[in-house]
Symmetry: C2
Subunit: 352 residues, 2 copies
Amino acid sequence: MSFEVNVRKVVPYVPGEQPNRPNMIKLNTNECPYPPAPAVKEALAKLESADMRLYPDPTADLLLQALSDVYHMPKNQIFVGVGSDDVLAMAFLTFFNSDKPILFPDVTYSFYDVWADLFRIPYKTCALDEKFKLCVEDYKQPNGGIVFPNPNAPTGVLESLKDVEEIVAANPDVVVIVDEAYVDFGGTSALSLVDKYENLLVVQTFSKSRALAGMRIGYAFGSTKLIGYLNDAKFSFNSYTMNRPSLMAGAACVRSVDYFEEITAKIIATREWTKAELAKLGFTFPDSYTNFIFATHKSVPAEEIYMALREQDIFVRYFKKPRIDNYLRITIGTDEQMQVLIEFLKKYLNNR
Amino acid sequence: MSFEVNVRKVVPYVPGEQPNRPNMIKLNTNECPYPPAPAVKEALAKLESADMRLYPDPTADLLLQALSDVYHMPKNQIFVGVGSDDVLAMAFLTFFNSDKPILFPDVTYSFYDVWADLFRIPYKTCALDEKFKLCVEDYKQPNGGIVFPNPNAPTGVLESLKDVEEIVAANPDVVVIVDEAYVDFGGTSALSLVDKYENLLVVQTFSKSRALAGMRIGYAFGSTKLIGYLNDAKFSFNSYTMNRPSLMAGAACVRSVDYFEEITAKIIATREWTKAELAKLGFTFPDSYTNFIFATHKSVPAEEIYMALREQDIFVRYFKKPRIDNYLRITIGTDEQMQVLIEFLKKYLNNR
């Protein structure tokens, strides 16, 4: 026998690559093309090196208070973590402990099955329809919990709040997690349902619309009961998850409401322009309510375009997976970046 | 039925309080009384707010390279996390999956049983002897893994490298974790045994001797096999644990070897002075090899002294637990802070 017998062996999630090429156009991990709010710069400038010898506030009160003020939710209904992945991992560990399978879409965030495997949670995927929409009825079968992104990734498809509520209402005996990483780009949050349904957890992130992917901040809204259980698990795992810079920068960031609205509006405008241009070039895509477009070309294989773009140091995301291996997930960058992308695609598709 | 049936219900670890009183003397969470190295200040000043829109490097290469250079270990034998608590939690999840109980001392870091409960790992505690020393023979019984701090907390007691090796060598079929949060204050690290024993994981932290508790950085050394499994689990939990400030500050910090040696030497000198003064006042304590002293008074109850100190805004740690409820854990502060403490104790014990 060896110590390896008792090792939890898992196949890890593979994050999008983080290339670092001069002048690259990085449209592969759905980052924000704009810098974080000016208040973040001020907060970072104010960091006192000497304070770093002291533990941060384990309750993360500075950040909770900012989220509470901006979202008009009491602090005991808010949870924060090291990115929404940390929040989701902790939620899986806390809430998904049934013998029945948890349910999520077949085409979705590719971390869900990884967390399920890590925590040995049985799961079952429900096929999206041919337009990549959820089938609400699928989520009325016996289950141990439900998780789905809205809008969905990598498809960009938005489900109506009515459909989300129908799923939450049909499952009072399990926790339903709505992963809203991309909701700020035109979606409607389920936050308004949190006080109506004690079993609903709404997860959001600072990594996309708030331009703070490098700071690792995610958060969740839920009933006091759900947030209480989540905090108990979190404080049984790591008391001090949020470091001092993330508390300071995060609070400054979330309070910068005008800037947030300005950059999300810009990204939405760029997205709509990109949609029109991609359509002219023979691409089709489900209508996107996110900061990316999930596009397939009428004649040229996605993998080929992906490789051709790479050679130009234009990075988009390609998933070699069933149903989606002929799609590219293209993050919305600045207007200039999208113009370069479109110009290259025009030439490439013409001269091929 | 309700969703609460499948909630993982746990009793969380309670971290030492983080009071914030003007002019307080904070000797309750074993922080470093000195600021981090000057290079940390420079690293923080160089943080570019605009870069924060991008994810950090998920491999944490900047930090791994610095640790690799300073400790002369290859990068694939080093793991980093959000404080050593994050590293330890991940190690429990990855390595402790046996039906047999894991073993740890009865008087030790109070997070071990919390992690065991969170992950539903059976455990058994082994009683320290009357001098708070480990009994090596206790760790030769059938088990699913072993974890102990060396030096131990909250006692400050150091076990010899020979005894540590005997435990590791006697348990080739399980992972043995040596938690060296306090090793830099006079202990001998088991790092030298890592290449000899594939089942040994040595965990250290930036929160004590490196004065970066506020940045949340912990790390571990082990065989390529152990570190590989640990990374697989970590990348199945959260790809991006270390944020940009922690990578930059952490790398600068670990490379500041001279400063590190200077402040640890100062803390050791202050500790030795404090030991002599406490002894004069009628305290006894196991000889400490850490940045704290675990002291009991010959006649005055620890809880009473703890409360009296609190009233002066002098915070030490008191654990109301079997075997140790008549002890105070006193962090070593600056010379000035320890003088204030000793002066107060002198007066208090005389006038009582």
